[in-house]
């Protein structure tokens, strides 16, 4: 066990855990931030995506000891009032079915749009290909990302 001081959603959190513990479980079990989801545990599905700095990362493969000073943003901290353009676009398009993968999809999409505010369809597909949606909401996700891009650029 070891002590870590983490910057999560703009707050500093102190925790005492095994250094190998993936951020996914630090968030879910220790910080009670359950919006970040467990899907596969091997970085194949994207359900656990969070932002490390400005980058979308798979929190199931990110040991707490590797985080250091970098800030972590989870779905709970993406916006203060749930009104990030990507969140708004998701509601507008009524994207979700079961909804379980969508936090990861939203976190991946929001990091992607920050880097590429005017993506083509192919760029969206490439960027999102690591996020599985078992319900098959892919066409709505793509539409929502395009809408979010347009609204941010408006």
């Amino acid at each position: 066990m070891a002590n870590f001081s983490l910057k999560v959603n703009g707050k500093t959190e102190q925790i005492d855990v095994d250094p190998t513990t993936p951020m996914l479980w630090v968030l879910r079990d220790h910080l009670k931030l359950v919006g970040t989801k467990f899907g596969c545990g091997i970085a194949q599905c994207g359900a656990c995506t969070v932002h490390l700095g400005d980058n979308a990362v798979r929190s199931c493969q990110l040991p707490v000891s590797a985080v250091g000073e970098q800030s972590i943003t989870t779905i709970e901290g993406l916006s203060e009032n749930g009104d990030h353009p990507v969140q708004k676009a998701w509601i507008e398009e009524d994207v979700y079915q079961c909804g379980y993968c969508q936090a990861g999809q939203i976190m991946n999409a929001s990091a992607f749009l920050k880097k590429n505010p005017n993506p083509s369809d192919v760029e969206i597909e490439d960027a999102m290909n690591g996020n599985i949606c078992r319900c098959g909401t892919y066409t709505r996700i793509k539409k929502a990302i395009k809408n979010a891009a347009n609204s941010s650029n408006a």
Binding site: V17, A47, C98, D121, I124, R134, C135
Partner: protein, 734 residues
């Protein structure tokens, strides 16, 4: 206007409702989810009045509607309350939806499965809303001393025009709650619907996009421990022994022990399918600690039955199809002599592998079991059956078992089999502590109730004019006999023979989204395409001719046919019109058509592949659906789109195989699911507007699309696809 008899039982009207929460608790959970403004907080009712088990009305006119059925992503948590709100005649913006717990005194069929929630719930939901509206009117009539028949309602307001009186529902709620429950109530005319048939966004949307705790796996309770299981690594093995002491001292680990989930004498329900009687449980403080212990623990297993392999399954199923059944499932005319007379005979065999359900949220359940009572909460499609098994296993009366339902991260049939709920309860009982059982992805994928592996052989005979005169279908599946003998084209062919066989396997199987149809539809529709081609006919015309035969001169008693040929033909004609199908292939695209009836709904699809890329890509799917009245078109289309993508994905990429009883895929690195790049670029859905009572949509769009894809692939590449996943054959989509 339709009058219906009300059928409430006594418990529906008990004022101190047995439902979870009550009063401000409900308001709180709603507000907490939406980052409420101070204005919204002030707008919350001071008091709620129970009108019946389905709804309560606040003193300010806000309405809480209980959603009775489990939510697995089929959107019943929005669409079922919409039906109540419609008949209550309230403004949807004033409705708060709450998930009901299991309560068999109030609610009927709290089950998610078979695309039946809306169809089975339709009348009861309308009745609940209409009864409440009736009681509000009765309260107003009494207060105003005017005849109830002169009172009208609209959007949560009660009006008596003649005396110029009006009141909000909130003002009449307290007296409405004391009114006599009417023996019969009138329902709205379809043309007067203002909520049903309009797009309403998912009530959980704001919670989903902000990561609120909604799912079973999100449950956090005071003093709660985490539990994990280890199940036998292969079908045919069972628990023998382990070295528990080696991991008990690991950090955070509370206990490690074998559990008899289903000891002898426990009365199992059908929902205990796929049960593993004996498992190893690991209980600890955190998930990661349990995972570490799970990895370090050595468990010995012993062989108790055959260790089966995919090769063996395939050989055995092929052998079955080479035999003849003594009693065919259906026989019309004489296929043998018809084949002799046929100018052309087409014979093809199709197959599909086992599939895992792979819900994105792995199986999990919360349980707090003490000597006297059990409290459970989690994602299960069959809470009523889970409760019965628990009563037997824990030796508790039903009323001492409370089951709450969380939103589910997918079901697809997997959560019909709530054995994980029983496991959680048994572990909690042993620990005498609340626990949350969580499966890893590997646990989830390597045990369960797989979609059976299937094989079907079709033989069709055409006369010299290209008329279908004989049809012979022979099907088999693992622990399932596959064939729906009375579905199309039964009733449309003079000489028809259906035979079915079951291969017994110890690989556990169960319902997987659109059971049987998820394979047989694709096979049948791909075969029909070949037969139409051999007949020299347009594939849509060929099908319509058969439907016409079933309409005008059905073979056998039409009551035996499990479909309505007019509705079937209707969706096919609609999709033909919408897609501009003229039988020709346009440059750069290849089209396939398919239609199927299952779960009481009719679907026809046309799928366009872009052939100017390699491998070809699904450009667009047109989908026509007849599911009667559409409650929420926006959500209905979502179900259709999901089913189509699910069907394309599994038929193209997914399979579970076995070697010596051991599942050969345990995670998404080797078990391939469809991803963003492979999904259709566009899906457009159309509904037949016929005012017929609604049927379901969770499943019907999946089965036919596999046929549409196979048929389009043939036109794109010249190659027919017979064996799923198609990626194992030459041409695939990308």
């Amino acid at each position: 206007m339709t009058l219906i008899k009300t059928t409430y039982n006594r418990r529906s009207f008990i004022k101190s409702s047995a439902l979870a929460g009550g009063g401000m608790v409900i308001g709180f959970s709603w507000l907490a989810s939406c980052n409420p403004t101070p204005e919204q907080v002030n707008n919350m009712p001071k008091e709620w009045f129970d009108i019946n088990g389905f709804l309560k009305i606040g003193d300010n006119g806000m309405v809480t509607i209980m959603s009775p059925n489990p939510e697995i992503g089929q959107n019943v948590k929005t669409s079922m309350p919409m039906i109540v709100a419609e008949e209550l005649d309230t403004d949807w913006d004033n409705v708060i939806v709450e998930q009901a717990p299991l309560n068999t005194d109030i609610f009927q069929r709290q089950l998610a499965g078979g695309s039946q929630s809306i169809r089975a719930g339709w009348q009861g939901l309308r009745m609940a809303g209409a009864t409440a509206r009736h009681m509000l009117i009765a309260a107003a009539a009494e207060a105003w001393q005017v005849p109830a028949s002169e009172i009208t309602t609209a959007a949560g307001t009660i009006t008596h025009k003649a005396s110029n009186k009006s009141a909000g529902y909130g003002e009449m709620a307290s007296s409405a709650a004391t009114m006599t429950v009417p023996e019969e109530v009138s329902l709205k005319d379809i043309k007067d619907f203002v909520i049903i048939g309009t797009d309403r966004r998912n009530v959980d949307g704001p919670n989903l996009v902000t990561g609120k705790s909604l799912f079973g796996i999100d449950i956090q309770e005071e003093g709660m421990l985490i539990a994990m299981i280890i199940h036998p690594p292969a079908f045919g093995l069972t628990y023998k022994s382990m070295d528990a002491d080696s991991v008990k001292s690991m950090p955070g680990i509370k206990d490690v022990f074998p559990i008899d989930v289903y000891p002898e004498g426990v009365e199992k329900q059908w929902s205990d399918g796929g049960a593993i009687d004996k498992l190893v449980a690991i209980v600890g403080e955190s998930t990661w600690q349990c995972m570490q212990a799970k990895k370090a623990l050595n468990v010995e297993w012993e062989k108790t039955s055959t260790l089966e392999s995919t090769e063996g399954h395939n050989e055995a199923i092929t052998k079955l199809l080479n035999t003849s059944s003594k009693e065919p499932a259906r026989k019309d005319g004489d296929v043998a002599s018809a084949f002799k007379k046929s100018a052309q005979i087409i014979e093809r065999t199709y197959s599909a592998p086992f599939l895992a359900h792979n819900t994105m949220e792995p199986m999990n359940f919360y349980a707090d079991v003490t000597g006297e009572r059990a409290i459970l909460n989690g994602p299960v499609q069959t809470p009523e059956f889970l409760e019965k098994t628990l009563a037997s296993r824990l030796d508790l009366p039903l009323e001492k078992i409370d089951i709450k339902m969380t939103r589910m991260g997918g079901g697809f049939g997997r959560r019909l089999y709530g054995t994980f709920g029983v496991e959680a309860a048994v572990i909690s009982q042993k620990m005498q502590a609340p626990i949350k059982l969580v499966y890893t992805r590997e646990d989830d994928m390597t045990q369960g109730t797989y979609r059976p592996t299937y094989k079907v052989k079709y033989k069709a005979g055409l006369d010299k004019d290209g008329n279908l005169i004989a049809w012979h279908v022979k099907g088999a599946g693992s622990n399932d006999d596959l064939i729906f003998e009375n579905r199309f084209p039964a009733g449309a062919v003079d000489n028809y023979l259906a035979e079915k066989f079951t291969l017994e396997t110890n690989v556990t199987t169960g319902a997987w989204r659109a059971p049987r149809s998820n394979f047989i539809a694709g096979a049948e529709q791909a075969f029909l395409d070949e037969v139409a081609e051999a007949a020299g006919k347009d594939p849509i015309e060929f099908r319509l001719e058969l439907f016409d035969r079933a309409i005008k001169d059905p073979v056998g008693d039409p009551k035996n046919n499990d479909y309505d040929p007019e509705r079937y033909a209707g969706v096919l004609k609609l999709v033909r019109e919408k897609s501009g199908w003229d039988g020709n292939q346009k440059n750069g695209t290849a089209r396939g058509v398919s239609s199927y009836y299952c779960h009481n709904s009719y679907v026809a699809q046309i799928l366009d592949l872009s052939t100017d890329v390699s491998p070809p890509k699904v450009n667009k799917v047109w989908c026509a659906v007849d599911c009667g009245i559409v409650i929420n078109p926006m959500a209905a289309k979502n179900q259709i789109e999901g089913g189509i993508i699910d069907g394309i994905g599994h038929a193209t990429y997914s399979e579970m195989t076995f070697e010596d009883g051991k599942p050969q895929h345990s995670n998404f690195d080797t078990y391939r699911l469809i991803r963003h790049k492979e999904a259709p670029k566009e899906i457009e859905s159309f509904f037949v507007d016929n005012g017929i009572d609604p049927t379901g949509l969770g499943e019907p769009s999946l089965p036919p699309v596999i046929g549409a894809l196979a048929n389009a692939l043939y036109r794109a590449t010249g190659q027919r696809h017979y064996n799923q996943p198609f990626i194992t054959e030459k041409s695939v989509i990308g």
